[in-house]
Amino acid sequence: MTQYIIEAEGLTKKFGDLAAVDGINFHVNAGECFGILGPNGAGKTTTVRMAYGFSPKTAGTLKVFGLDIEKDWRSIKSRIGVCQQENSLDPDLSVEQNLLVFARYFNIPPGRAREKAQQLLQFISLDNRRGAKVTELSGGMMRRMILARSLINDPELLILDEPTTGLDPQARHQLWQRLEELKAGGLTILLTTHYMDEASRLCDRLVIMHQGKILVEGKPADLIREHVGHNVIEVDDPAEKLRAFVKSQSLECEDLGHRLIIYGQGRDDLFHEIGDRFCTGGCILRMATLEDVFLKLTGRELKE
């Protein structure tokens, strides 16, 4: 029997009467990158916080490496690396000291810690800034530092809570590249994000959460095919005749008023038919993405 790295059943977290996580089931396989997607307030952070022993669960079972997080938290925590959402680098310490001091929390001997710190600073291309104050680093560098710090104990599982929120495109790609290298090395990754491109690029499997519940689970490509199809047609200022046509053909669509989004469902000829008959301009055909699935399932209104 293969052992799951993380296994959650009926996992629930309540704050007062509010169920932030409402009886979810999921598992993470060894060596995969598993994503938890969802709008703000969906329960992503609460879920991973339970997984790394930061928040106690209200109900359900949660096992990491087959161990009970409540009983064996110390041995579990010594085997995982965590990148929290907020910047928790130590501003009182230099770049290198941040890694060395963190290594002590894991009881890593000083010699081994220095070696590992050197290796990690090279990995994140900050070995020329080892003496710098962390407050002097750019946002992207800080994120890479947090990643390096989470790897100090050679973790078997890496937990990333919105690792690229607030970063510019260059910094995001830098970080993704590092994560892909780690994944190629066989590291198991649990990732939360609300960026669909990030999830598509990194995740082997993912769940989409909404209001504390899991809506769907699967591989990114499968989810797109199942819920949206290959293509999406977007029409600006759609004519009434088009709306009637869509209705008569019972095509799946979303009407945003000034814009009509029609899910292709594998009909390649549809775009030409619509383009020729109903559109004068502002009609495009594009590949369906995870973002379409996400918006379709979680709705388009603001979540906060």
């Binding site: 409540e70 010594s78 929290q84």
Partner: protein, 263 residues
């Protein structure tokens, strides 16, 4: 409460102490200055300036120069301030603004170890400051040895007492500005009425009784006795008081910080 959050203190709390010590090593040159100069300022202003007016005072029936009376109290106040301010403002900044505790909680450290490490560190700062002050004040010939050496372990005990109550306030304060309240209502009255600048015996009877509630009163009594070399069995009451104070506020600090940090 499940097992994850029941009391768990291993010697790993030492790692938290080490983190603070590493930071201290970077700024030790600045940290050394206050305990070096503060007693000098006070001894100059109150001991020599005010002492000229006061002359000798009667302490437990024996005449003592005002400066010899005052110097031990300065040490006691410094023990209080070092631990109390370390475990209020400094700990609060680490907890709330720097997210240092959050980062530690993603490692094999428990909340209890983090808080214990912080309080022991606060007490360590009290000991360091006390050692520096002892040297300075000894140069004036105001400390009786070898009994004066007892002040060092006493600084550790007093540091834990004031660090624990400081950490308790850190556990319940909504914002950093609200520390003004315990300082105004707790620290300042103690600073003035714990037999620091004048013998508590000069107070009316009811105020003397109230002063006995203050932990600083007991700390001042002990430091003064060790400095003057007048050790009596009566002092055990003050030691007991400080130990009991630690035994009450140390667990209370853990409870309040757990409540604050566990989400």
């Amino acid at each position: 409460m499940n097992a994850l959050f029941s009391v768990s203190i291993s010697k790993r709390f030492w790692r938290v102490w080490q983190r603070n010590f590493t930071v201290y090593q970077k700024i030790w040159k600045i940290s050394f200055i206050p305990p070096l100069f503060e007693p000098l300022f006070y001894l100059l202003a109150f001991g020599i300036g005010l002492g000229a007016l006061v002359g000798k005072i009667s302490y437990h029936g024996a005449p003592v120069s005002y400066i010899a009376f005052l110097a031990p109290a300065l040490i006691a106040v410094n023990i209080m301030n070092n631990a109390f301010f370390e475990n209020t403002y400094a700990s609060f900044v680490r907890m709330y603004h720097q997210k240092t505790f959050d980062a530690m909680l993603a490692t094999p450290l428990s909340i209890d170890e983090i808080i214990t490490g912080e309080i022991i560190w606060g007490a360590t700062k009290s000991v360091i400051a006390t050692a520096i002050m002892l040297i300075v004040i000894s140069l004036f010939g105001l400390i009786h040895y070898p009994s004066g050496l007892l002040i060092l372990p006493l600084a550790f005990l007093g540091g834990i007492a004031f660090g624990a109550i400081g950490m308790y306030f850190t556990g319940i304060t909504p914002t950093i500005d609200m520390f003004n309240l315990p300082i105004f209502l707790f620290v300042t009255p103690m600073f003035l009425f714990s037999g620091t600048f004048f013998p508590a015996e000069n107070l009316p009877a009811w105020a003397q009784a109230m002063a006995l509630i203050f932990p600083l009163t007991h700390l001042v009594t002990l430091v003064r006795a060790f400095s003057l070399g007048s050790i009596t069995a009566h002092l055990l009451w003050s030691v007991m008081y400080l130990i009991i104070f630690c035994m009450v506020f140390f667990p209370l600090a853990l409870i309040k910080m757990r409540r604050r940090l566990i989400k």
